[in-house]
Structure formats: C-alpha cells, structure tokens
C-alpha cells in the first residue's frame, strides 16, 4: 500500500512500472487494432472483388460508372494501375488481382489505341494530340478494332499507365487544354504561348503576335518558324498575311 503514495524512491520504481505497463497495454491495443483493421481490410477487399466481378461488364462499358469506380479506388488510396509492369514480373496491378483481368485489359486497350492514333497523326500535328480530339477519334473507332465509349478521364488514366514503360507519352497542359505528347521535344515558353493563342483563335499571324503579345517581329518570326519546323502548325499563304493554323481540327475520317 505504501507503494501507491508515489514519493521517494518508491516513486521511481512505480513510475517505471507504470510506464512499462502502459507501454505493454499500448502495444496490446495497437496489435488488437491492427488485427481488427487487417480483418476489416481483407473483408473490404473481398467485397470490392465481388463487387467488381459482378459489375465488370458495367465497368467496361459504362464510362460514368467506370469513372466513379476509379474515383472510389483513389479515395481509398488505391492506384488501380500501379505495379502493372514491375520489371515484367508476375506482380499484377490491383485491378488485375482484385477485379480480374478484364478491367486491366481495358485500359491497356485504350492505351494501345492512343499510341496508334498518336503515331498516325504525328506528321500532321507534330506530336501533340489534343485529349478531346483523341477521345473523339477513339469513340469513332478508326483505330484497331471498333469504337469504344470512353471519357477523357479514361484517356488520362490510360496514358498514365504507359508511364512505367518509358514510352515517352505524357500529358501536358497548354492554356486550358490538355494534350498527349508523343514526341520528346520540350516546348519553350514562347512556343507554348503561341499554342495557347492558337487554341483560342485557331490561327495566328506574325502581326497578331506582335500586337497582342508585344513581341518584336524577329521574336515572333522565330517562334513561328520553330513551330513550322516541328510540324506543329500548318501554313496558309492564300490569306492577306500568312496565317499559321493549329492542326487540331484535322482529325477527320481516316483510313
């Protein structure tokens, strides 16, 4: 009983004991929690698995549903396409493991089409393909296979899945628009600026650049010539002043 008073030497021993018991109690709680958390997670995983299998068809065909599902996964902190190409080992992505191969294949299919489209349009757009235009073309189904109902969201995800391949495909933003870049060339600020302007107006002239951006003629000419050299713009010589157009609306019926 005298131990409890906690004064004097006895107090030190007490303290040790108490902290020790606290510590052990704490770790007990921790492991209990961890165990229950583990159980919860595995339960959740199997539920997710069942859910995905049941709705696999929907996920594949309905873009809105798919987007919601993907958002759900992301909210939990799960990246569906991660670990899909870890040094070519057997480790599959979460999608593949939990949901079966269908959904995984789906995004790869989209990615393949994107690559194909970029390759086909490279000569006319210099390697920059607008995400919106890409989405339209995939929907039309002019690439391999038939048309696919997808959203721009799916496209972004699919391009992201190509990253680990070191394919040189990535998404860049210019102005308010997003593009898939398939050519490694970096754009300098001036060039990006002009592309931004092109987004809004569809075309530019050297005079327009001078007036609107307060550039000297030489500077404007250089930028424009660079863009032509990179096949990023088309030239119209039949206008009063030479016009430089963005090729983004050239994505018509192919094949």
């Amino acid at each position: 009983m005298s131990n409890r008073r906690g004064v004097g030497l006895g107090a030190f021993t007490n303290k040790n004991q108490t902290s020790q018991s606290y510590a052990s109690h704490g770790s007990q709680l921790k492991s209990l929690n961890a165990a229950s958390l583990q159980t919860q997670l595995s339960v959740f995983q199997s539920l997710l698995h069942t859910f995905a299998l049941e709705h696999a068809a929907d996920i594949k065909s309905n873009p809105t549903f798919r987007a919601e599902f993907a958002r759900m996964c992301n909210a939990i902190g799960v990246d569906p396409l991660a670990a899909s190409n870890v040094k070519g080992k057997r480790t599959k992505s979460l999608w593949a493991r939990v949901l079966g191969n269908d959904v995984n294949d789906f995004y790869f299919e989209v990615a393949v089409r994107i690559v194909e489209l970029c390759r086909a349009t490279r000569t006319e757009n210099g390697g920059l393909l607008g995400v919106t235009e890409c989405c339209q073309m995939v929907a039309k189904g002019k690439a391999i296979g038939g048309g696919l109902q997808i959203t721009e969201d799916d496209i972004l995800r699919a391009v992201k899945s190509l990253e680990p391949l070191g394919s040189g495909f990535n998404v860049i933003s210019i102005g308010s628009k997003q593009y898939i870049r398939s050519i490694p060339k970096e754009l300098n600020t001036d060039q990006s600026k002009v592309l931004e302007v092109l987004q809004i107006l569809g075309f530019v002239t050297i005079a327009m650049l001078q007036i609107n951006l307060q550039w000297e003629k030489a500077r404007a000419t250089t930028v424009v010539e660079d863009l032509v050299a990179d096949s990023l713009v088309w030239v119209d010589v039949q206008a009063e002043e030479t016009e430089y157009w963005s090729p983004q609306n050239l994505l018509d019926d192919r094949g």
Binding site: R122, W234, D252
Partner: protein, 190 residues
C-alpha cells in the same frame, strides 16, 4: 450519259471531309512531314470525290474550277502547279498508284483516277460474271456497262477505256478473251 469526260456536276451531295474546310489545306506546306501528310489527304479526297461522281478521267483545267480544287466558301483554291503535284503524288508508288497521266508527260492535262485500279475492277467484273453464272457465255462490252442487267452494279456506266484496261488484266492472266470488231467487242470469261 457521257461518262468518258469528267462530269464534275454534283448529282447528289458529296460530303467533304473536315480537312476541306481547313484553309492551309490549299497551300503547299513547307515542312516535309506536314507536306506528305497533306498530299496523302489530298489523294484520299480526290479518290472519294471521283468515286462519288463516277469520274474516271480527271481533266485538270475543269477540276481547278470545280469544288474539288476550289473551295469558294473559304475562298481558297489549289493552284495549277499544286494540283499537278497532287496528281504526281498519286501516280507514284508512295501515293499508291492511284492515278495515271494521259498523254505525253510534258502536258499533264488529264489523268486516270484509279479510285479502283483496273485489277480491282477486274475482280469486281469477274465476281459478277461468276455470280450470275455467265462464265463461258459471250457478253458484249456495251451490255457490261450499259445493259439493264448491270444497272445496280458498281461498274455500270464505267468508261469504256477503263473497262478495256481492266479486261486486259484478265486477258493477260488467261481468264478472259476479248474479240470482235472495233466498237463492237465482246468478251468471254473462263
């Protein structure tokens, strides 16, 4: 109906591809890559336009004034020089051998547009003759392209010259024989 000449009247509406409304399309592109993409698009346009209007022979002078090479709404047109370049591209292997200049190379006034090559036409003809059980019977060239029996066939109204060329490919393969007097030829498929 005179089908030997290039009748560029719009019988039914031809829907131009979006490229047609892109002003730079009518200007020769300085960038080589862009240029090749442009030529390829022009080739497709010329072919589908001719296919729609059943044009087998393109007379450049007429074509330059037609909607094919002149977009009046956009006020853009293909120059004679550029139009020749397009056809040149189409005659090349790179362009898929889809055209053939008529007459001496110095003139370049008119050309065959092979939206279907003679060999391809030969295939179509052969298929029809086989399908109608007419192998081994004698048919006049006239009835092949003008007869009632072929009215809903793709080769109906085909230019006689083109017909002769495509039958020629079959004759070389020994699959048909053309005979008879000038202007009254007949053909027998084997």
């Amino acid at each position: 109906m005179a089908t030997a000449s290039s009748s560029l009247t719009t019988s039914s509406m031809f829907t131009f591809p979006p490229t047609y409304s892109f002003p730079p399309f009518f200007s020769p592109q300085p960038n080589a890559q862009t240029r090749s993409a442009q030529l390829s698009k022009w080739s497709s346009l010329v072919q589908s336009y001719c296919r729609h209007h059943r044009i087998f022979k393109l007379l450049l002078s007429d074509a330059l004034e037609s909607p094919l090479f002149h977009n009046s709404k956009l006020m853009r047109r293909l120059s004679a020089h550029d139009a020749k370049a397009v056809v040149d591209y189409m005659t090349s292997k790179e362009g898929g051998n889809r055209a053939e200049w008529i007459g001496p190379a110095t003139e370049k006034a008119s050309a065959w547009i092979w939206w279907r090559r003679p060999e391809e036409w030969a295939g179509v003809l052969e298929a029809w003759v086989d399908g109608t059980g007419q192998k081994g019977t004698v048919l006049t060239l006239y009835e092949l392209v003008e007869g009632e029996a072929t009215e809903n066939q793709e080769f109906h109204g085909m230019d006689m010259e083109v017909l002769r060329k495509s039958l020629g490919t079959l004759v070389k393969k020994g699959k048909a024989q053309v005979f008879g007097g000038e202007g009254q030829e007949g053909v027998k498929f084997f």
